[in-house]
Structure formats: structure tokens, C-alpha cells
């Protein structure tokens, strides 16, 4: 296996919606192992479709996705990928505690009865410790603040010990302090060898922690190092001709 096949490779991927409209057309990109890569594009530009294809939730019409050289289905079975969902995908009134949620990260390692072993319990506590939620572990998930909620799901990803972590809009509704704290943690994880893909709208913060950027609108318009890729010209192209200045205004609104 070459180093090229580690990380995530997306090869000539096309996906159609059920109404026969193309969501993604001929997407080619590489998420380098041990990097933090930002996935940037307009709403409806296919970011979440690409996420779902990488996670193996969608069958591609054409093309392939590999995670560390494995198909998404094999990668799922091998616990290679962890997914941190958007806040609005979660039912915060559900009667589970923070500890229960993080323990769900371990289910793939357990037998059919899902009875946690000592190792499972230890890893859950360590993951909670790492995101700073140990003292809140008995709380029902809805009783956490916005930032704590994000960290709880990040702890679940840590407990799962996936090499590849996908985060969908992790900074929406999070204050600056929490964002900083999560970024620090993501950078630590990268330095430990995790591959991290973040879909985000938060353009200013990208340069502070992302090594690479993939710009997407139906297809990949540009990708490469943050410095080379996150240019005004590329952003204008990606967001459909809107000047970057109006973009930042739009975000502030």
C-alpha cells in the first residue's frame, strides 16, 4: 500500500439525487493522511453529499471512495472512520447521558449484547477527560451548552479510535473560546496521526488550523495547501461569482 492510498481518496465520483439532478460530478480529491483538510463550498454545493459518500451512506453512481485503501463499507467494519454530526442532526431531548453517547463509540468493538469491557469503560473515561467533560458525564445530553455538546460527540469519535475523523460544520453555534479549544484538540489529534476532514463555513478560521483545503461546488474547483488554495479568486469561483467581501458580510448577518 502506498502512502497515497492512506487518508481518503475520491476517484471520479458522481452522485445523482433521486430526482435525477446531479449532486456531485466527477469529483477527484485526496485527503492526505495526518492532515487537517477543510471542505468548503456553498450550501447545496455537494459538501454533505461528499461526506455521505465517504462515510458509505450513499452509493456512488460512478467512481470510488477509499479510506486508508479500503472501501467505505470495509472501513466502517474496521472502525477506521468516526463521524461528528451537525448539531441539528441530533435529538437533544433523547434520554441518554453524555457517558452513554460516548460509549456508543465503542459498540463496534463489542459482541452482539454490547456489554462494555473494562477497556471500553477506560477509553470512554479517557475520551471524556480529553475533551474536558468528565464532570458532566452523567448529564442528559440536552443539558450541555452548545460547545459541550460538540465536545461530547468529539469524545465519541475519540472513543471509537477512528484514524479518520469527519466533522460536519463543527463550529456553528459555538463561541470563540470553545472553537479555539476544539481547534487545539484537532491539531493535537492530527499530530498523533489522525486524518481530519472538516466541512465548514468559517472561512477566517481555516487558515489558522487547516493544512489543506478542498473547494467544492458540484465538482472540485480547487484543492491543495491552504495558502495556495484559499485565494479570493478561487472563493469567488466556488461561491458563484459573489465577491469575497460580500461573503463575509453574508456570514456576519
Amino acid at each position: 500500500m502506498t502512502t497515497q492510498s492512506l487518508g481518503i481518496t475520491v476517484d471520479h465520483l458522481s452522485v445523482a439525487y433521486s430526482n435525477a439532478r446531479l449532486a456531485l460530478y466527477n469529483v477527484n480529491c485526496i485527503v492526505q493522511p495526518g492532515s487537517i483538510t477543510a471542505l468548503v463550498g456553498p450550501n447545496g454545493g455537494g459538501k454533505s453529499t461528499l461526506f455521505k459518500s465517504i462515510m458509505g451512506f450513499l452509493k456512488p453512481g460512478q467512481g470510488r471512495v477509499h479510506i486508508s485503501g479500503y472501501s467505505p463499507q470495509m472501513a466502517q467494519k474496521r472502525q477506521l472512520m468516526a463521524y461528528v454530526p451537525q448539531a441539528d442532526e441530533v435529538d437533544w431531548d433523547f434520554p441518554v447521558s453524555v457517558y452513554d453517547v460516548v460509549m456508543m463509540g465503542r459498540y463496534g468493538y463489542m459482541n452482539l449484547l454490547r456489554i462494555p469491557s473494562a477497556t471500553d469503560k477506560r477509553l470512554v473515561m479517557e475520551s471524556l477527560e480529553r475533551v474536558g467533560l468528565s464532570e458532566f458525564c452523567r448529564r442528559q445530553i440536552g443539558e450541555l451548552s452548545g460547545g459541550q455538546k460538540k465536545r461530547a460527540f468529539l469524545a465519541r469519535a475519540l472513543a471509537q479510535q477512528g484514524k479518520v475523523i469527519l466533522l460536519d460544520e463543527p463550529f456553528t453555534g459555538v463561541d470563540i473560546k470553545t472553537e479555539k479549544r476544539m481547534i487545539d484538540l484537532l491539531m493535537q489529534l492530527r499530530d498523533e496521526g489522525h486524518t481530519i476532514l472538516v466541512s465548514t463555513h468559517d472561512l477566517p478560521s481555516i487558515a489558522t488550523f487547516c493544512d489543506r483545503v478542498v473547494l467544492i461546488n458540484q465538482t472540485v474547483l480547487a484543492s491543495g495547501s491552504t495558502e495556495d488554495t484559499l485565494t479570493e479568486e478561487n472563493l469567488v469561483m466556488t461561491f458563484g461569482g459573489l465577491p469575497a467581501a460580500s461573503l463575509s458580510q453574508q456570514r456576519a448577518a
Binding site: M55, F57, Q76, V90, D91, F94, D100, Y107
Partner: protein, 288 residues
């Protein structure tokens, strides 16, 4: 006063049919209560309603062929859920429309059959239940379906909860979500078969939703929710059966009326999510 209550409770126990009705409905209440927690959390009450109506043709066919009613009911109930999944995958319709079309279709077919196929089944008993007149053979079927349900839920309880909470994560960690989906549908169909004789088709959905919904208003932890749900359901089933004997009213109806009363009490007086507390709560109470 105490004597009157004791008499109210003890006097009916001299009748074998009532003792039988009491423990059968308590057992049915237990099974329904456990499942209702999952159904409430998954938002599947309409699915429960659908399955319960869809069993009618199965019951009629089973009687006509001399098979146990539970077999026919189960096959048609589970078959309806498969049909719903199929139609949803093949059309652009939303799930509630698909459920509405499929279950009423099954139900209507059952009514047509029951009026055409000569048999000694009483449509009224299928629709409204008849636990006071339950036969030995029907008790055996109820027990088999109910115990199977409880065992499946007990063994798969963590996966079912994960499925209700976050099916995407279940997929991402390589678990078989399709199987979880069908497991929950399977226990739903089995529970409805279990409850058929007690509550009847029309009211079974109440037993599948109300205890779980009541418990949800009273608890933030799943194991507490489960215990409260079982307590609410057992209480309603036992006292509902007594009420139906003393007042000479429908058993299924009494049980569901009691459940609904308990639900309303929880809705108004629940310590954290009740209307009284919500109204009195000041913003300053929420400061930590």
C-alpha cells in the same frame, strides 16, 4: 372504607375468567410498555397504528385456514411494514402518506374478507378486544408472542436504542442498520399480536405509545423511563380490567382511558417537564 376497597379488589377474584383476564392483561401491559419506550423515541406511533390495522386480513385468513390467529396476524402485520418500506423506496412519497395508503388498504381488504369468508370470528372482538372471554389457546399464543418480544428486546436493547438515537453513527461503525430496522418492526408486529386479544386493533396503538410517552415526560434516563412506562402500563391494565368488570364496560377502553388519565397527570404535574412547573419557572431558576 378500607374494607370496601378490599372487597372491590378481592370479590372479583372468585371468578376464574377474571383472574385470567387480569394476569393476561398485566402481561400484555408489560410487553407493550417496554416496546412503547422505543416507539415513542423513534417516532413510530403511526407505524404502530398501521401494523395493528394491517393484521386484520391475516386474522381472517388464519381462521379460515384453521391456523393460529397469531400466525396470520404476524405475517400480515410484518408484511405491511415491508410493503411500506418498498413503496417508500420506489416512490417520491413521504413516509406518512405511504403508511396511510398501505395500512388502510390492508385493513379494508381484511374487512372485505371477514364479510365474505364464512367463519365464527366476531369482527367486533378483533376491533375492540375481548380479554374477558379469552380462550386457553389464545392465551398460549399471546404468551409465545409476548415472551419472544421480550427476549428479542432484552438481547438487542442497546442496538435498538442506538438505532432510535443515531442510525448514522450505527452505520458509520459498521453495524447492520437494516437489521436493526427490521428487528424493531419485528418486535412491533409481535407486540401487536400479543395485545390483539386485550386491547383490540383500534386501541392497541394507545398501549404502544401512551406508557412510553408518559414516562418520557417524567424522566431523562432511559432505564428510569422503562420502569415508569412499565409501572404506568401495569397499573392501567390491572385497574382497567377491574373497572371493566365492576362497571360492565369495555376492558380495552377502560385500560386506555386510565392510561390517558395518567398521561394527562404527567403532562400537567411532571416535576421537570410538567405544565405547572414550566409556568411557574422563572428565568432565575435556571441559573446554575
Amino acid at each position: 372504607m378500607m374494607e370496601a376497597i378490599a372487597a372491590w379488589l378481592i370479590e372479583p377474584l372468585q371468578y376464574g375468567f377474571l383472574v385470567k383476564a387480569l394476569w393476561v392483561s398485566a402481561f400484555v401491559g408489560l410487553v407493550c410498555a417496554v416496546l412503547s419506550c422505543y416507539i415513542t423515541l423513534k417516532g413510530w406511533s403511526l407505524m404502530g397504528d398501521a401494523v395493528s390495522h394491517a393484521v386484520v386480513p391475516g386474522v381472517v385468513v388464519a381462521y379460515a385456514l384453521g391456523l393460529p390467529f397469531a400466525v396470520g396476524a404476524f405475517l400480515f402485520g410484518f408484511g405491511a411494514t415491508v410493503a411500506i418500506g418498498y413503496v417508500k423506496a420506489k416512490t417520491r412519497l413521504k413516509e406518512d402518506a405511504v403508511i396511510g395508503v398501505v395500512f388502510t388498504g390492508f385493513f379494508a381488504f381484511g374487512i372485505v374478507l371477514s364479510t365474505k369468508i364464512p367463519s365464527n370470528i366476531d369482527l367486533f372482538h378483533i376491533l375492540f378486544g375481548n380479554v374477558l372471554g379469552i380462550s386457553q389457546q389464545d392465551i398460549v399464543q399471546t404468551l409465545i408472542a409476548g415472551i419472544t418480544t421480550l427476549v428479542i428486546i432484552l438481547v438487542r436493547r442497546r442496538d435498538l436504542l442506538l438505532f432510535c438515537f443515531d442510525p448514522n453513527h450505527a452505520k458509520a461503525i459498521g453495524l447492520n442498520v437494516q437489521m436493526m430496522y427490521y428487528t424493531l418492526l419485528l418486535v412491533l408486529a409481535l407486540t401487536i399480536v400479543t395485545a390483539l386479544q386485550t386491547a383490540g386493533i383500534i386501541l392497541v396503538v394507545a398501549m404502544l405509545v401512551t406508557p412510553g410517552a408518559t414516562a418520557y415526560l417524567l424522566s431523562d434516563r432511559f432505564d428510569h423511563m422503562l420502569m415508569i412506562s412499565v409501572a404506568v402500563s401495569l397499573l392501567s391494565c390491572v385497574f382497567g380490567t377491574y373497572m371493566s368488570y365492576h362497571l360492565d364496560v369495555s376492558t380495552g377502553g377502560s385500560i386506555v382511558v386510565l392510561m390517558t388519565v395518567l398521561f394527562v397527570l404527567a403532562m400537567v404535574f411532571a416535576p421537570k417537564y410538567g405544565m405547572v412547573v414550566q409556568r411557574r419557572r422563572q428565568p432565575s431558576d435556571l441559573l446554575e
